[in-house]
Symmetry: C2
Subunit: 405 residues, 2 copies
C-alpha cells in the first residue's frame, strides 16, 4: 500500500520546518487533530523517518516531545549529465550534497552503454568514499541534456545524443541497484533544485532558463514542476526569432541557433576569420577553432566584438522571454547554463529586453537573476526529483529501511 | 467550519459521474472505505446536495441505493461583460444554463455604477421568469474584459474600461444578494467553461485564446485555471511582434494592435480610403466608419483585401502561439472571441503558423479548434468559476440551503 496521504503530509511538515517541532506545532501546521498527529508521528518514528529530538521548553506541564526529519534514513545518487561532462553526487534525504565529483572525460556520443558504465563507477566510488552501502541508496535521479519521456524514463529525440533515443536507462541501473531510477530533462531537474532554495520565499511560479549549447526552460507552476501534455514543455530553444541561421533541427530562425553556446562560438569564429576582432583572430590562429570559453576570455578582456555577440544573444533571449513573461506571469526568472557565466552583459541585455517588452503589470514584482545553485543545480535537482518521487511511491516490495510498517 | 475535504471529494465523485452511482462505485472512484463513503454520503443527503435515486440492479442481495448530485440545490447567476454588450444567465449547480439573455445596449464607458445596475435588473428579471428566489442564488460569477485582481475581486488597469479601475464590485452585489461574488478576467472564465466541456477527454493543459478587440489567453494548467504570480497571466495581446502600429498601451508592435478586432477594422478602413478594395470603400462611403462586422461581410463576399487582412492577423497570432506552444506544450488550443467568427481563414492561418514553427514533438498530439461553447463560453465559465469557489467555502454564516450540518 501507499504511504497514507496524511502520514506523508505530517512527514512533509516535519521536514519543511527544518528544526525540531512539537506535536502542537504540527497540529497548527497541518490543521489535523492532536490524535491524528500522534497516530501518524508514531508511524514515522517506527519507520525511522522521524527522530525524537531533545525535548523543547515546557509551557507548564511536561516538556513536549520534539520531532525532526531523519535525513539519513537513506541516500540519493544524483546525476547531471551534459554532452561533454557529468556531475555526480550523493545526497541525504534533505537533498544536501554529502560528496560530489565532476567528470570531464564524458562523451555522450560514445553511446549510452559506455557512458552509463562510467557514471556507475563514479557513483560506486563516491559511496565507498562515504562508507554508504548500495542498499542505503533509496533512489537514483538523472538529468539528461534533452527531452525525456518522463513517465517511462526514456530519452526522446536527442539530436545531440545519438544512440540514446529510447535507450532503457532504468534497466541499466536495475542491474546494479535495487532502488527506483528517475530520468528527466536536466532543465527540469535544475528548476526543481532552484525551487528548493526558494522554498522560504514561497515562489510558486518560476522559469529556469538554461542557456548552454541548447536553450531550454524548466517551469515551476503552482509549486510543481510542469512537464506539459506530451512532456516536452519548456522547449524554447527552437522558438523562431526570424533570422537566417540554420538550426540542427532543420529550421531556420531558432533562438538557440543564434544565442546558444555553440552558435555564439561559431559566430565568433566567423568574425575572427572576417578580421573583425584582432583578439579573437589571434586565439583562432593559435587554436584553429573557437569555443565558448574563448569567447568568455575575449569578453573578460573587453573585446567589443565578443561583448556585442553576447549582447545580441541576450537581447534575442530577452525578447523571447518577454513573451513568455506576458503569458506565464512568473515571480522569478533564473538564468543558468554555460553561456550565462560569460560575463554580466548577457543578463543585463536579457533584463533590458524583458522590462522593455513586457507589461508593467506583469513585471511589477518580477525578478530576473542568475541561477542560485550554479553548477550544482543539476545534482541538487536530480536529488529533489528523486526525493519527491520516492515519498509518493508504494511502500511494499521495496527494500527500504523505511518499508512502511 | 469548511466542508471536510473528504465530503467534498465524495460530492465531486457523485457530480462528475453524471449518472446515479452506488456506494460501491464511490468506493472504487475515491479509494475510500465503504464506512467512510457511508458517513459522508449521509452528510450530503442531510444537506440536500445529494439525492437518492431509484435503486440500481441487484448483484444478489438487496438492490443498492443509488445517489445523484442535486444540481438544483441552488442556482448561480453568471455574467459575461464585454465592452459593448453583456450576457447574463441563471444556471443550476451543474453549470447548465436554465435561462439567459444578451444585452446589446451596454456601454462600459458609462461607468460601473450604471452598468452594474443594468445587469442587476437583468439578473432579477431572469430569476422572476424562472420563479427562483434571490435566496436560492448561491453565488454570482462575473467575467470582465480585462485584468482583474482576482483574490480581491477588483478590476485592475482596464484601459478600455475607464472608471472601473479598482471599483468595489463585490460591495455593489452585497447590497442586493447575500451570496458571494467572484470577478475574473473573462478570458479566464471562458477557459473554465471550455474545460468543463472537455472533462471527459481529460484535457489537463489547454490555452483558450480570445481574439476580440483585445487578445488574451486563459490558461488551464494541470486541470486548474492558472492566474500567475500577480494574477495577470495570459496577457498575450501586448506581446511584441515587431510592427510599427501604436497600441493603446503606449508601445508599438503589440499583437493586438495588428490582429485585434478594432485594429483589423481600422486597417480595413485605411485600405478602403486608399482605394485598395472597392467593396470596403463602398461600405465606408455608406457608413462613414468600418467595424469588424463590415470586414466579416467583406470576407463572406470573398473580398481579397479583407481575406488578406484576416490571413495576416491569423499568421501573426499563429507565430506568437507557436512560441507559447513550444513553451507550454498544451494538448488543446481553443480560439474564441469576435474575430474568430470572421470566416475560416483566421483559424487556418493560425494552424499553419503553429505547425510550421513549433517542434513536431510538441505538436504531435496538439489540436487547435474553434471554441466549443462559442458565445456561451463566458456565461458557462462564470458559473463554473463560482461553483468551484462555493464548494470550497466555509459553510457557516451563509444562508445556503446546504448550510453544513
Amino acid at each position: 500500500m501507499n504511504m497514507p496521504r496524511v502520514t506523508l503530509e505530517v512527514l512533509q511538515a516535519i521536514r519543511r520546518s527544518r528544526k525540531p517541532v512539537s506535536k502542537a506545532e504540527l497540529v497548527r501546521l497541518t490543521n489535523y487533530s492532536l490524535a491524528t498527529i500522534t497516530e501518524h508521528t508514531e508511524i514515522l518514528l517506527r519507520n525511522h523517518l522521524a527522530l525524537e529530538s531533545d525535548r523543547g521548553p515546557s509551557t507548564g506541564g511536561r516538556k513536549p516531545q520534539l520531532l525532526s526529519f531523519n535525513a539519513e534514513a537513506g541516500y540519493i545518487a544524483a546525476i547531471d549529465l551534459e554532452s561533454t561532462h557529468a556531475g555526480v553526487g550523493i545526497t541525504d534525504l534533505n537533498c544536501n550534497i554529502l560528496i560530489s565529483e565532476s567528470s570531464n572525460d564524458i562523451d555522450v556520443a560514445a553511446g549510452p552503454a559506455a557512458v552509463l558504465e562510467q557514471i556507475k563507477d563514479l557513483v560506486l566510488a563516491l559511496l565507498r568514499n562515504k562508507g554508504i552501502e548500495r542498499s542505503q541508496v533509496k533512489g537514483i535521479g538523472m538529468g539528461l541534456p534533452g527531452p525525456v519521456e518522463y513517465s517511462r524514463g526514456l530519452p526522446a529525440s536527442l539530436s545531440i545524443m545519438p544512440g540514446w533515443d529510447r535507450y532503457p536507462i532504468r534497466e541499466f541501473w536495475a542491474q546494479h541497484f535495487e532502488c527506483p531510477l528517475y530520468v528527466d530533462n536536466n532543465v527540469h531537474t535544475m528548476a526543481l533544485g532552484e525551487q528548493m532554495l526558494e522554498q522560504d520565499s514561497k515562489v510558486d511560479n518560476l522559469i529556469f532558463l538554461k542557456i548552454g549549447n541548447g536553450i531550454g526552460a524548466g517551469i515551476i507552476c503552482n509549486g510543481h514542476i510542469y512537464r506539459g501534455s506530451t512532456e516536452c514543455a519548456g522547449n524554447v530553444g527552437h522558438i523562431n526569432i526570424g533570422h537566417d541561421f540554420l538550426c540542427y533541427c532543420g529550421n531556420r530562425g531558432c533562438l538557440e541557433a543564434l544565442a546558444g553556446g555553440r552558435a555564439i562560438a561559431a559566430r565568433a569564429e566567423q568574425m575572427a576569420r572576417d578580421g573583425q576582432s584582432e583578439l579573437l583572430a589571434a586565439i583562432l590562429a593559435e587554436k584553429k577553432k573557437l569555443t565558448l570559453a574563448d569567447v568568455r576570455k575575449a569578453v573578460e578582456e573587453s573585446d567589443p566584438v565578443a561583448v556585442e555577440l553576447m549582447r545580441e544573444g541576450g537581447t534575442a533571449i530577452g525578447n523571447v522571454l518577454a513573451s513568455l513573461v506576458n503569458f506565464f506571469n512568473p515571480a522569478l526568472v533564473l538564468i543558468g547554463g554555460g553561456v550565462s557565466q560569460v560575463g554580466d552583459v548577457l543578463l543585463a541585455s536579457i533584463r533590458q529586453a524583458v522590462y522593455q517588452r513586457s507589461l508593467p503589470l506583469t513585471t511589477r514584482n518580477l525578478s530576473i537573476q542568475h541561477s542560485l545553485l550554479g553548477e550544482q543545480a543539476g545534482i541538487v535537482g536530480a536529488a529533489v526529483l528523486t526525493f519527491n518521487e520516492i515519498m509518493h511511491m508504494p511502500f511494499v516490495n521495496r527494500e527500504l529501511t523505511f518499508t512502511y510498517k
